[in-house]
Structures are given as C-alpha cells and as structure tokens.
C-alpha cells in the first residue's frame, strides 16, 4: 500500500496530507526564532498519537472496530469498520481518514502486528538517525529526558516532552525544542482533548437518551395500567346521534 506520488507545490510535504493509504507524514515548518534570529526547521512526524483516552474509540459505534491494546496501541480493525466517520469527529488530532475505495477508516497502527511479535514499528526501525525511538513508556520518558537536557544545554530553554494530559497522555510522544508552543509545529494542538461536543454526544446523551426513551414508554404503560383505556361510552354515541338528528332535522 502506497500513496500515489503527488505534485510539488513548493513545500517539502508530499503527499500534502495524511490519506487512507499513508499513515505517517513529515510536516515541515520553517520558523524564524525572534530571540536568536535563527531560522529553525521544525519537523514533526504526524500520525496517530495513540491517546490513552482515544476520542476515536469513544465515538465509534461499531463494537470491535477500534480497539486499545494493553500496550497502549489504538488500532482500527477494518473488518468491523462501517465507515461512518465518527472516529474522524472524535479524534482531537485530525488523524483518521476514510477510504473512498472501501469506506473504512485508516490510520497509523503503530505496526501493531510487528509490535506483537517483539519488533519495533517500521518507522522506528527504518529511521537512519534514530530520531524515532520505540520502547516502554517509562523507558521512552527517560530517553526523552536525555534529549531534553541536551537541547536545554544547547540553548532551548523551553525544550520538553509532548505527552498531553488532556487525552490521558499519548503513546506517541514528541521531544520538542519549544514545548511551551507546540502549535509552532504545523499546528500541533497545545492542549488536545476530546471535543466537549463529542463528550456530550457519546457521554451524556447516550444514557440520558436511552433512559428517556424507556421512561416515556413506561410512563405510557403505567398511565394505561392506572387509568385504563379511554373508551367511547354508549352515551357518547347516543349524544352523537342526537346531535346529528337535531342538525339534519332543522
């Protein structure tokens, strides 16, 4: 599976966005640091962040289409996917893409198949400069700390780890030179969290709605049980006949 080679529009990114066929994309930002006068090249590997509290999973209606493994990987099981696109609405990072070919959602799997047999994800394995590391979250935090210390020594006072708490932390983390301003990195969310609208939709409305439906039916049932049917009485029919005769005979 490979995305078609696109056209050069004067930026390094190609393809220009994540697609159903391409799960990871290097995003390039040229940023002029006003303090130092340096032009900085802020490169970020965009793709699924594997949130600990995944918005896609929260929004998904199809059981088993989105799963979260105990190692933290959030995976889409296309076999169970119905293509509704709710994961796109749930995701705070704008990651899932729906394929027009089979109407199923795709995103980075963190090579769950490789990880399951003890191998590192392909991106980490193939990165020639070891800019991508793979390991347990605790080990990666330790490793990140070395890198952060190193960056701070080199003058990046605000270097830090991107592990946003709003989504319970992520299982893909970034070491950023400017961790105080993640949005510099091609619009990386500074405080990502599941949209309150999605929380309302898939949190509150679900129980309240179903309880409301059940209560409406129950109220009807108990009204019937206590009041009985509202029958037309013989007097009503008699009154109707009288009324008609009165009108037609005058």
């Amino acid at each position: 599976m490979r995305e078609e080679v696109g056209v050069n529009t004067g930026v390094y990114e190609n393809p220009h966005d994540l697609t159903p066929n391409m799960f990871t994309l290097m995003r390039f930002t040229e940023w002029e640091n006003e303090e130092t006068g340096n032009l900085e090249w802020l490169i970020r590997k965009d793709g699924c962040m594997h949130c600990d509290d995944p918005g896609c999973l929260k929004a998904c209606p199809s059981p088993g289409a989105i799963v979260q493994y105990s190692n933290g990987i959030v995976d889409f099981i296309q076999e169970n996917c119905i293509g509704c696109g709710y994961c796109v609405k749930g995701c705070p990072f704008n990651i899932p893409r729906i394929s027009a070919r089979d109407n199923k959602a795709y995103k980075c799997t963190l090579c769950s198949d490789r990880v399951a047999v003890g191998q590192a994800p392909a991106c980490a394995k193939s990165c020639p400069t070891q800019a991508i590391y793979f390991g347990s979250k605790r080990d990666m935090r330790e490793w990140a700390q070395h890198r952060i210390d190193d960056l701070k020594e080199r003058g990046f006072a605000n270097a830090g780890l991107y592990d946003p708490p709003g989504v319970g932390g992520t299982h893909v983390m970034y070491v950023l030179h400017h961790a105080d301003r993640p949005e510099l990195y091609a619009g990386l969310a500074s405080n990502p969290r599941i949209s309150p609208l999605v929380e309302l939709w898939k949190g509150l409305l679900k129980p309240i709605g179903l309880i409301g439906i059940g209560l409406t039916a129950l109220i009807g049932f108990f009204h019937y049980v206590t009041r009985g049917p509202n029958e037309v009485e013989p007097e009503d029919e008699a009154a109707a006949v009288r009324e008609r005769e009165k009108v037609t005979h005058t």
Binding site: C60, P61, S62, P63, N80, C81, I82, G83, C84, G85, Y86, V88, K89, N94, I98, N103, S195, L197, V198, L200, W201, L205, K206, G209, L210, G212, I213, T216, A217, G220, H223, Y224, R227, G228, P229, N230, E231, V232, E233, P234, D236, E237, A238, A239, A240, V241, E243, R244, V247, T248
Partner: protein, 225 residues
C-alpha cells in the same frame, strides 16, 4: 363509504397511505439510527444487513422520510394552527390525562396535544434533516468542517431522541384513546368518538353532512334561460 350514518370519514386513503409510509420509514430510521448511536444497540444493524449497509441505508431512508413527512405536513398543517382554546386545553391537560375531556375546551380536528406533536415533529425533522446532511460524509463530507460535524452529531442525536419520545407518546395516545386507530386504518371513526374527543370537528362534520344531505333548494333547479 359506510351506510351507517353514525360513522364519519376522518382520513382519505391517500392520507392513510402517506401516514403509514411515513411511519414505516420512521421506524426504519429509528432502528438504524439507534444502532449507530450506541454500541450496545449495534446488533440492530443486523436488520439492515450489517453496519456498512445500515450506514448506507439510513440517510436514504431519511431522504424518503422527508418527502413522506412533507406530504403529511401539507395535508394537515391547516388543522394544526394554535388557538386560544388550545392554550386553555393545555393548561388543564391533567383533566385530559384523567379521561375527563368534558372539562376542557372542545377540540377541532386535532386537540392541543396532537398539535404539539405535529409541531414538535415538524421542528425536529427540520433539525434532523440539516444536521443529517452534515453527517452524510460519503455524499457531502467535504462541505463541512470537523467541528461543524461534531455539532451536527449532537443536534442529530438530541433531535432523534426527542423525536422517538414524541412518537412513543403519539403511539400511546392512539392506543389509549380507543377508537382512534381505526381512523388511520379504515379511515373513519364513530360519531361517539368524535363527540367525545373532537366535538368541534364533529359539529362541523354534522353541519357539512346536513348541507350535503339536504334536499336541493329550488333556486338551484332554476332553468338556465
């Protein structure tokens, strides 16, 4: 239709077909929509041939439902304008629920409760249509932003739940008030039913019938010359 003079026509065959087409579509929409609303209800998607089919069918059912509902709206809107009597009826709705309609103002073709159902359905269906288009990603996905789709999802779910509750109330009322369902199945109701529940409408029908049945006044038989 019937020769029994104490039977009154309430719904034409066209209105009945329109109503039941709309009803079946709404049931299909509710079942498919609920299956997409809650993972616990996802099994309902089996009725429609699985999740993918449910996702495909639901919006098309919605399109069909818009037309059937529009038909009902056009047929019945003129009987559903709110009057001062309707407000008085609503204020003493507890008498109605107790089966004492003699204590509230006489109703026309529809009572205030039915009018509320009519307008609730109309408003909710407009909300469902607009939010539904924003959620129809395979057709119109590119016309809305993700944030608009999120809002649409909340509006759609809220309106759908309110609609289902309204329809349950509508169905219960038809079951509770005996003699009502035949109006929508056979098209007619008894005089006693009309007298008891829709006396103003009954009086109109009787007056109307009297006009028709009355012997033709002689001036109508006047020679053309």
């Amino acid at each position: 239709m019937s020769h029994d003079p104490n039977i009154y026509d309430r719904y034409t065959p066209g209105a009945r077909v329109n109503h039941w087409a709309n009803a079946f579509i709404m049931i299909g929409l509710a079942l498919s929509g609920l299956s997409l609303f809650h993972p616990g209800l996802f099994f309902l998607s089996g009725i429609f041939g699985g999740g993918q089919w449910t996702r495909i069918i639901h919006p098309w059912l919605g399109v069909a439902g818009i037309f059937t509902f529009l038909g009902l709206f056009i047929r019945f809107v003129r009987f559903n304008f709110w009057t001062r009597d309707d407000s008085r009826w609503m204020a003493s709705v507890n008498h109605v629920l107790a089966g004492r309609e003699d204590k509230v103002p006489e109703s026309g073709k529809y009572n205030a409760g039915q009018k509320v159902v009519f307008w609730l359905l109309s408003i909710l269906i407009v909300l469902l249509l607009t939010s539904g288009l924003a959620l129809w990603d395979s057709m119109f996905g590119q016309y809305t932003t993700i944030d608009q789709k999120r809002l649409a999802a909340v509006v759609h779910a809220f309106a759908a739940l309110a609609l289902i509750m309204t329809v349950i109330t509508h169905i219960y009322a038809a079951i509770w008030v005996r003699g009502t369902i035949r109006g929508m199945t056979r098209g007619s109701v008894t005089g006693g039913w009309a007298w008891r529940h829709h006396r103003k409408w009954f009086r109109q029908e009787v007056a109307h019938g009297a006009e028709h049945d009355a012997p033709k006044p002689p001036q109508q038989a006047r020679p053309a010359a």
